[in-house]
Amino acid sequence: MASGIAAEAAAPLPATRRRSTRRRFVRRKSWIAFLMALPLIALIGALVVYPAFYSLYLAMLNKGMEHFVGLGNFSFLFRRDLFWMVVKQSVIFAVSAVIFKALIGFVVAHFVHNIPAKGQRKWRGMLLVPWVIPPAMSTLAWFWLFDPSYSAFNWVLSRIGLHGVPWLGDPLWARFSVILVNVWYGAPFFLIMYLAALKSVPEQLYEAAAIDGANWWQKIWYVTLPMMRNIIAITVLFSLIVTFANFDIVRILTNGGPIDQTHVFATWAFQLGIEGGDLPLGACVSLFMFPILGVAAYFILRDINRRGNEA
């Protein structure tokens, strides 16, 4: 191909002919580019986009997947109290976990930022450990810490004269426990993000604010938060999606129990679809994670477009 171009170029050519060679050269370059991106396109198309749309269709089949039932599965779900319980629990789980993760991350990031720079690396390294351990493994440790008869937490509580807590046995405590573990696992991620954001706020802004008479709280409110707004928004959004879709923690700690009170969309869909053998109904449940996804996608796209315009 290259030698062909050179040969053509050597001979004088009429203008139109020459232009078409040039265009062919440009087109060939973008063909190579397309081919390089093709594995990505194929992967995403076949294993993400296609299944996502296929689940829409799947959700409208009967249990045996022989015939089309339209919105039958949805109306079946809407009539079940358990479904509404799962909706409520998913929202409570995701929203409260994300709020606490963000708060703890923000506060601890400030503590790390406060101490002399040479010690920060060490602390940061320690505090990120919960995020590094595969959640399935660390949740097992929590499961053991929550054990009804040997709970090491209850041992401490009983030493200081308190009653042991039924961490996973009582519905309310179980809900608290799954949120606690999720916060423990996710807060370090926020910590790292916010620490990076804090470091990017120029020190002169704080000095200027101090000269203007701002106190500690006003510096956070008028300098830190506005400067970190973007990163806070994106981490919260991101974490909201991931937390909504969480499977590992609830599955291992409670598997939905006691009496299905801690199920979230993912674990319930797994139970219905894979273990219960009703794939359409499972698909139907998991589809309820779409709305939150849509909202997130909207904000992220808006953000990307806005940045594109600024550039």
């Binding site: 320690m126 919960p130 399935a136 499977f247 679809g273």
Partner: protein, 296 residues
């Protein structure tokens, strides 16, 4: 720092700063204890005998440390299989992921074609689609692929090599696009004039210059595929096909009799590879983590 603190005129400021520092350390210690309790308790338990675990003594301390849990696991055929499967799956996924995402990132950040800008945004959006939305349709899709081709898709560890890249490729591509985009355009132009082909620009200029990004993406791909729990739970059922997380949870926790020493040891060893990578490559790990949000 100390020079500022020792100026006598600023005594009140100095006292204020000192208190802020003390409180910071107090809370950091508190949070570090909270954050590190579960992994440390894993370690403590893994060193205990079954007798000590069920005895009513201080649970936070080991009085008779033993490695019998570790040796027990090394002897366990099943656990060795999990570990091997995890290793083969994760390493294959890392290789596939890096090839796909580096090629795509190079094409999307430098060469451009019709629709490439949309695709770059789309890549990020697909990263947001959670696996929990996809495992049921994928389950069904594998069933009919099996019907068509006769290839048995269900309950094989290698199926994970096919599905895990959906978790890793979008984010790794996104990281690599960010790193590639920060390479000045003149660098590839200089290389083109020096006589490099596009492929040589990628291998001899882009990859070495963006090496931190390559390392960060590799770490990400490895840790994600090592840690995933849902796909192996959904797609593998027999012991010889399982990877670590699913294997430990489904085979060691059976019935009401838990061998906690064994379980904690298994979990700790399962957590070891990502922890070791983190310990040695912390800066790259964190760079990869923050790259997604700051470059997005």
């Amino acid at each position: 720092m100390s020079a500022v603190l020792e100026r006598p005129r600023t005594a009140s400021l100095r006292r204020e700063r000192r208190w802020a520092l003390i409180w910071s350390y107090v809370f950091l210690v508190l949070f570090a204890v909270l954050f590190l309790t579960p992994p440390l308790y894993m370690l403590v338990t893994s060193l205990k005998t079954s007798a000590e675990i069920s005895a009513v003594t201080l649970p936070w301390w080991v009085f008779h440390p033993t490695l019998e849990n570790y040796f027990g696991l090394f002897d366990s055929e099943a656990y060795r299989t999990f570990f091997r499967n995890s290793l083969v799956v994760s390493l294959s996924v890392v290789a596939i992921t890096m090839v796909i995402s580096i090629l795509a990132a190079f094409s999307l950040s430098r060469m451009r074609f019709w629709g490439s800008a949309t695709l770059a945004t789309g890549v990020f959006l697909t990263y947001l689609i959670p696996e929990t939305l996809l495992f049921i349709p994928l389950f069904k899709i594998f069933a009919f692929v099996q019907d068509w081709t006769g290839i048995e898709m269900m309950n094989h560890w290698w199926v994970l090599i096919i599905v895990y890249p959906t978790l890793t490729v979008p984010f790794c591509t996104w990281i690599m696009i960010g790193y590639f985009a920060s390479i000045p355009k003149e660098l590839d132009e200089a290389a083109l004039i020096d006589g490099a082909s596009y492929f040589q620009v990628l291998t001899r200029i882009f990859l070495p210059v963006a090496l931190p990004g390559v390392i960060a993406a590799t770490i990400f791909a490895f840790t994600v595929s090592w840690a995933d729990f849902l796909y192996p739970m959904a797609f593998t059922t027999s012991v010889d096909q399982m990877v670590l997380p699913a294997g430990i949870v489904t085979t060691l926790i059976k019935g009401d009799v838990y061998n906690w020493g064994q379980i904690m040891t298994a979990a700790l060893l399962g957590a070891a590879p990502p922890l070791l990578i983190y310990a040695f490559l912390m800066d790259y790990y964190i760079a990869g983590l923050t790259a997604g949000a700051t470059k997005g």
